[in-house]
């Protein structure tokens, strides 16, 4: 593994931990996935995608109808990897400080103390983010980007790993503040859970009708394991043919849509592909990893004409761009 092949690590403090061997990292991912599956039925893809976002230092946007188990899913992941979980319900009257936290005056010590907001957790679920005013949304996005909160000149680092899973409600569009594309671009992936199949739902109903299984869910990993696995991911080899493949795909979307994948999107795709490679127990990225990741990483970033969709642009790019 050479320096040129590794994607530069933007989080210096993360490099203080030693990376897990690839096999161990893959095993960790498998363990977590299987653990979450004890609670969540039929969402293996979603679980993997959340884990990839966690390992690749990304955040997720879930777009779905209410009641398909988004909260349960996020919480199960958080519990399984041994981390903390917090949920914020975004409403039109939610203030930025309600998200990040605020300095309060302590009468006893006669000092201002930082009262941390709900973003201080390993997994944060921002529910119906599009119902909050833009200023509040921006506060969350800033934390996502910087992994820190600055209040009154004081900087407070959020815990590591830190992953935001935001959901968007698309059933009541006229009562929401649509996220601008520039902000959507900051989410590594966008997913749709979708309804479970008939048999999955039947099983689900059977499991949950008694004691909720999440109450008995145990962690199968530690936060430190996850930190080390993230380090492993960042060191996965991405050689020139793959990098060129990604940039040719990006070029294609830029030529065939109003707005194609941004360089940030291309970087996100490379990171997601690295995480995917680790899932497969490989320390290098193959084009197949890119192909697996590209839809969830890029489709939401591409703006198209009304009769086209980002998904189909990506599909066409996959058909047209040669794998070399």
């Amino acid at each position: 593994m050479t320096d040129a092949d590794a994607v530069p690590d933007s989080k210096p403090e993360a490099s203080t931990v030693a990376p897990l061997p690839v096999e161990d990292a893959a095993d960790l991912a498998t363990r977590i996935t299987e653990n979450v599956e004890r609670v969540i039925v039929g969402q293996r893809d979603a679980i993997e995608n959340i884990l990839i976002a966690v390992l690749a230092r990304g955040h997720l946007l879930l777009e779905d109808v209410p009641g398909v188990g988004k909260t349960m899913l996020a919480r199960s992941v958080a519990v399984s990897l041994g981390g903390s979980f917090k949920r914020v319900q975004f409403t039109p009257d939610l203030l930025p400080s309600d998200v990040t936290g605020v300095n309060v005056f302590n009468q006893q010590t006669r000092e201002f103390e930082f009262q941390s907001g709900p973003v201080f957790a390993n997994v944060v679920l921002g529910d119906e983010i599009n119902r909050a005013p833009p200023k509040t949304q921006a506060a969350l996005l800033e934390v996502m980007e910087e992994e820190q909160v600055t209040v009154d000149g004081e900087t407070h680092r959020v815990p590591s790993p830190f992953t935001v899973i935001a959901t968007q409600n698309d059933v009541e569009p006229n009562r929401t503040y649509e996220l601008p594309l520039a902000e959507i671009d900051r989410f590594m992936k966008k997913l749709r859970l979708g309804y479970p199949t008939e048999s999955q739902e039947t099983e689900l109903l059977g499991r949950i009708s008694g004691d909720h299984p999440i109450d008995s869910l145990e962690p199968v990993a530690s936060v430190e394991d996850v930190q080390r696995a993230r380090r492993t991911v960042s060191q996965v080899t991405v050689r020139e043919p793959v990098r060129s493949y990604v940039s040719r795909l990006a070029g294609y979307t830029r030529e065939h849509a109003q707005l194609g994948a941004s360089p940030r999107g291309a970087l996100a795709l490379v990171r997601a592909s690295q995480a995917r490679a680790v899932f497969e127990g490989r320390d290098y990225v193959v084009p197949d990893d890119v192909q697996t990741e590209v839809q969830s990483v890029w489709a939401h970033r591409i703006r198209t004409d009304s009769d086209d969709t980002g998904t189909s642009v990506v599909d066409r790019a996959l058909d047209a761009v040669a794998v070399e």
Binding site: M1, T237, R239, P241, V242, G251, E255, R282, D283, Y284, V285, V286, P287, D288, Q291, L318, D319, A320, V321, A322, V323
Partner: protein
């Protein structure tokens, strides 16, 4: 991406430019084809530099005007050029011909032209060519400049088609013109639709096929035409001489037909003349002027003459009216169907059946050698114009040699005798000669040491004309076998060509430069052989009596010793043997081409394959094959299948593995399907493994992923991948694969 796109644009522009270049070149080639026909005409009759000027002028005008002038105006200019040209032509015609210019005559002449009348037979052929040339050249080049290639080709094609119909466009100019036109039309289509190099390959294939097929196909048995790569049996002397209608081409090797053609009862032996030719084209002879129906008595020779009555009976089907020079009257049923040529020969418009006969009265000129020597050179204009003509391209060395041979003599008669003796002594008689490719006279004089009568007579006429002595080329028959008193049997092999020289106050006097001895020997041998073989039609009643048919007549030509009185005596004029001087008239020949020429059909002598033509045709075929191979991807496949088989020298393990995988992929591509764009190697192998892909192949794929996307592979992995691929390649190679070891 942007470089790719601009690269594509450049490629398109290149293809566009290439298409235009090909289209213009095609139009030029087509133009060349019909201008070359006209050039040949003017070369023969004079005025070729003027023609070239006219053509060049038309080109320049069309190029200049092409961008500015509307199509309507250009059509007007073309019409003006044609009308103006024809006005010049009409004004240039001699008075005698002008009188013949009635609308009906014009129409029939046009029809005659379109049904094979050579332009060379027009009295004013040179002016005619000048008149015709600028119009089509201007129009077709104007249209080409305006990118209307198809119409340009139509204009040029009409011109070329006209010359094909007149029979003046030979096979090569026609083929070249058609190929050029086709290329132009094809390229214009490319131009319009922006086609690429692949289409040029197709075009090259089609054109090569056209050329090679037309060059070789008529070699197939039964095809009668003259292919570019000739393998036709040699024609008979008779077929080449007598059956020629208005145009006579000198051929190569030739045979003798022993069949009896006709019998003559005549008080005097003579050469039986059938046609005289005035215009020399360099490769043959053309009879100019129109024929008139025979309507009673014809004019005799200018000087004193003796009347000779001949009764001619056809023994085979003949389309000629042989007679001693100069015929003045014909009696018999055929007289109604006879016509008279400008040269004074008579010929029938229908064939004579066996047994048909006619009586012909000839006025045989009487003269003495002295009289001929004293004859002046103040020839009538008509004689001067027609019988001193030589092609512009006649070489200087011919003129020089003629001057050496005859220049010392001070009168036409001695000049003629000198040339006759020179040819008789310098050249051998042979029927088996290669067909000359250039000027006949030049070739015969300087490059051949043997020939037959056509060569002798042609060369003599050319030499005499270059010395200012009016002469012409005459065909007909030698007297034949004298079977009884005043009765002659004439066979096909008696057909002959000789020379007539014009003398003031005497008219046309016969000279025969062909050595008679060898000729008769050859002819006798042929008759004897034919009799032994029992060929039909060799004899008529009486003729077989003579064991060896010693054809009476011919002896005379041998007579070289002309000087003396021998030729001279008027009385002996008719005796064929006499040297020279005498006699008879003429018929033209007629259509019978087929009959005589073919009844001898099997060929003998070897076709002298002109090597350069063979080479050109071979080259064209090669170009077509290459284009076809490229088009069908054969070259690519051949290269790839070679590439597939050899891993090549070992390099780094990484490179070796990658190459091994590429070979595998090519192998699978041939066996199953190619890897699709956007399909990863892993997905490709996985999908093939469902249809039974070797498990080892997947390991090669894994090694490839390591090598290409990962941190590289070990030497062992690389070697294993190579040997796996080698094994798979061998397994897929039929037969040979079993013999190759690792």
């Amino acid at each position: 991406m942007s470089t790719e796109r601009s690269g594509r644009l450049t490629a398109a522009a290149d293809a566009d430019g290439a298409s235009r270049a090909v289209a213009l070149a095609g139009v030029l080639v087509l133009t060349w084809s019909y201008v070359s026909v006209l050039y040949h005409v003017t070369d023969v009759v004079g005025g070729s530099s003027r023609l070239l000027l006219a053509v060049a002028g038309a080109f320049v005008l069309a190029s200049l005007v092409g961008y500015f002038v509307s199509l309507r105006t250009a059509l007007g200019v073309t019409a003006a050029l044609l009308v103006g040209g024809f006005a010049v032509y009409v004004l240039a015609l001699p008075q005698s011909q002008l009188e013949l210019l009635t609308p009906g005559r014009l129409l029939s002449d046009t029809v005659a032209l379109l049904t094979g009348l050579s332009i060379l037979r027009l009295t004013g052929a040179g002016v005619w060519a000048m008149a015709v040339a600028p119009g089509p050249v201007f129009l077709s080049w104007y249209l080409a400049v305006r990118r209307r290639y198809v119409w340009s080709v139509v204009a040029g094609g009409v011109a070329l088609g006209l010359f094909v119909l007149t029979g003046d466009a030979g096979q090569i100019p026609t083929l070249v013109g058609v190929v050029g036109g086709t290329a132009a039309v094809a390229a214009s289509t490319f131009d319009r639709y922006g086609a690429g190099v692949a289409q040029l390959d197709v075009m090259a294939m089609v054109l090569a096929t056209m050329i090679v097929l037309s060059a070789t196909l008529s070699v197939v048995p039964g095809a009668g035409a003259a292919p570019l790569l000739p393998d036709r049996g040699s024609p008979t002397v008779e077929g080449s001489l007598v059956d020629a209608q208005d145009r006579l081409n000198v051929v190569g090797s030739i045979r003798l037909s022993p069949k009896v053609r006709f019998t003559v009862q005549s008080p005097q032996s003579s050469y039986w003349q059938t046609a005289a030719y005035d215009r020399y084209t360099g490769d043959g002879w053309v009879r100019t002027g129109n024929t008139k129906p025979y309507d009673g008595r014809l004019q005799g020779p200018p000087g004193s003459s003796r009347t000779v009555q001949q009764q001619v009976t056809a023994e085979g089907t003949i389309s000629i009216l042989p007679a001693a020079w100069k015929p003045v009257r014909i009696d018999g049923p055929i007289a109604a169907d006879a016509e008279v040529t400008t040269q004074g020969n008579v010929r029938p418009t229908t064939a004579l059946r066996p047994g048909e006969s006619y009586r012909v009265t000839s006025e045989v000129p009487l003269y003495t050698t002295e009289q001929l020597r004293r004859s002046g050179t103040d020839y009538p204009d008509q004689i001067r114009e027609s019988y001193l003509q030589l092609p512009d391209s006649t070489s200087d060395r011919v003129r020089v040699r003629a001057a050496e041979v005859a220049g010392g003599e001070d009168n036409p008669y001695d000049k003629a005798v000198a040339v006759e003796q020179y040819l008789e002594s310098e050249k051998r008689y042979s029927l088996s000669v290669p067909q000359p490719s250039g000027d006949i006279a030049d070739t015969f004089l300087f490059e051949m040491d043997a020939g037959y009568c056509t060569y002798y007579a042609t060369t003599m006429v050319v030499m005499l004309r270059s010395q200012g002595v009016p002469a012409r080329f005459v065909t007909g028959y030698t007297p034949g076998q004298e079977v009884a008193d005043d009765e002659y049997v004439v066979r096909g092999l008696d057909s002959h060509a000789w020379v007539e020289v014009y003398f003031e106050d005497v008219g046309w006097v016969r000279f025969d430069p062909t050595p008679a001895g060898p000729r008769q020997t050859a002819e006798n041998a042929r008759v004897t052989e034919a009799r032994q073989n029992g060929e039909e039609g060799v004899d008529v009643n009486g003729s077989e009596d003579t064991p060896t048919p010693t054809p009476t007549p011919t002896a005379n030509e041998t007579n070289t010793g002309r000087n003396g009185n021998d030729t001279a005596t008027p009385s002996d004029a008719l005796a064929p043997g006499g040297d020279g001087a005498n006699v008879t008239p003429p018929p033209g020949s007629v259509p019978g081409l087929g009959e005589t020429a073919t009844d001898e059909g099997g060929g003998s002598p070897i076709p002298d394959l002109p090597p350069e033509r063979t080479f050109v045709v071979g080259l064209v075929a090669a170009v077509g094959l290459v284009a076809g191979a490229r088009r069908s991807g054969v070259t690519e496949r051949a290269y790839r299948s070679l590439w597939l088989r050899y891993q090549g020298a070992r390099q780094t393990p990484r490179d070796d593995t990658v190459r091994a995988y590429r070979r595998l992929e090519y192998l699978l591509e041939r066996e199953y399907r190619p890897r699709r764009t956007g399909e990863t190697p892993r997905a490709y192998l996985r999908s093939l493994s469902r249809v039974g892909l070797d498990a080892d192949a997947k390991r090669v794929g894994e090694a490839y992923e390591h090598a290409r996307y990962g941190d590289g592979v070990s030497r062992e992995t690389a070697d294993e991948a190579i040997s796996t691929v080698n094994r798979l390649v061998r397994a897929s190679t039929p037969v040979l694969g079993r013999f190759v070891r690792d």
